[in-house]
Symmetry: C2
Subunit: 248 residues, 2 copies
DNA sequence: CTTACAATTTCATAATGTGAAATTATCTTA
DNA sequence: TAAGATAATTTCACATTATGAAATTGTAAG
């Protein structure tokens, strides 16, 4: 555990959409660090292109991160192969599709695509939601008890009217997900939205990600609900096959 | 200059689309570092979520980078304001539009949007090209002599049939760019493509970025060439105005 | 011009990262 | 399946390096 590297990471994490520009002392205060130390770290990060220094001697995130990010994308085998398949989904129906992966009790969205007419959804690539409160998350939990354990240990809290906050109820729900092969999130994560998700399997048959389609409750529960479910499952299966998974 | 942070950055930069997965010793060799030291750094980066460790104990880039990246995006004032304007451009014409900014002798593309029917262009968000060989780059060079100096000092080399490799020729070209207010790259950067770029100015009137439209030589030089030029210039001006620049 | 606050630099000291070597794990090949 | 080869990980003494208090310089506001 190398302290200075850890600190450097924390410094980068200080920046957000709310606070895109920070001064040296601001950073130091936020992290409870000495201003001199902070300054050394910040200067190093500037030299590496990770931060950029203003003419006002304030700091912002730099280009290096864009470069790194692209490599995260490429690295995700799943990514390239999934894009066209997910796009098909949003052309067939109106809504927003995500691919989510599990990390530390949460779902991280690694892909987001919306139909032109879709109502806006508050997610973005890289953003996170509690696993137990999302359709993608519940798929991932239902196929991996270690994930479930990790999630439960962090506690369940109300996110929207129907969030499942009872552990036994959650386990029942996940059992059902395993049985039917898809998960549903109805007003569990944000009010008014309804998601349907299905598992993406790696070549080895392990559930490594989930695709979903999210839309307004009324639309998703409407006449083509069963068609949507089938399509989401099909998309997930196609992606799995692209990844080399062979159905038994 | 904090060594361990510098090293950590270099480790992250080791990963690329060609080598998305690396082992500890591979990294160490690539950077000429001790394997033990590398291991400590890599472990720290894993704990921070910047890297992910395989079940084979090999490493890939992690989620943290996605999170950070999103903040780079948000932070770019230019970004939010520019997207709708650039989209207009690619709806009017067929092609790929970029916004590029200068960094260390190169253009970094911070935005890329293509028309549905556009032929693929080998760029992506975060990718780089030599400044002297691209339309966006030449705009940035023509308004900033420090940029030009930096670029020249790194040398000019052939990128495509028409790349300008002579310093004086380049200077002449940049003079013209300043005069007409836009730049043209005709087979200078990749064979068969033609780009037209115009400057984006900040509130203070400084050229901070450039927009371009890229397409096949035949199309771009065709009947609506002058209309394209005018539109690119207009787009650039609209973005500048969005950023608070007031024309004198 | 003065005051106040933030950024930067300095420097002695303590803490921390370093790398050679040992150990353990994994993969290859016979 | 065992032996050999290669890679990952751990250990530890030492030297390097980061640390933070304080001094200095820079900047903004009144």
């Amino acid at each position: 555990m190398i302290e200075s590297v850890k600190k450097a990471c924390h410094i980068i994490s200080c920046f957000s959409s709310e606070e895109p520009v920070l001064g040296n002392t601001e950073i130091a205060k936020k992290l409870g660090m000495n201003a001199g130390t902070t300054h050394h770290l910040v200067t190093t990060l500037c030299n590496e292109g990770v931060l950029i220094r203003d003419h006002n001697r304030r700091y912002r995130l730099g280009w290096k991160l864009l470069e790194w990010n692209n490599n995260v994308m490429f690295q995700q085998d799943i990514y390239d192969k999934a894009i066209p398949l997910v796009k098909e989904l949003i052309h067939r129906f109106v809504g927003t599709a995500h691919i989510g992966m599990f990390d530390k009790g949460e779902v991280v969205f690694v892909l987001k695509v919306s139909s032109q007419e879709a109502s806006p959804i508050h997610t973005y690539i890289g953003s996170r939601k509690p696993a137990y409160a999302t359709s993608t998350g519940k798929v991932l939990l239902s196929y991996n008890s270690a994930y479930l354990q990790e999630t439960i240990s962090r506690g369940l809290s109300m996110q929207a009217p129907n969030t499942i906050t009872d552990i036994n109820k959650l386990k029942k729900d996940l059992e059902m997900v395993r049985k039917v092969g898809y998960s549903v999130s109805n007003n569990e994560n944000s009010t008014g939205t309804y998601g349907i998700a299905a598992p993406i399997l790696s070549y080895s048959g392990k559930t490594i990600a989930a695709v979903n389609l999210v839309g307004p409750v009324s639309y998703m529960q409407g006449s083509n609900r069963s068609m949507i479910i089938q399509s989401v499952i099909n998309t997930a299966q196609s992606i799995s096959q692209e990844l080399g998974y062979i159905e038994v």
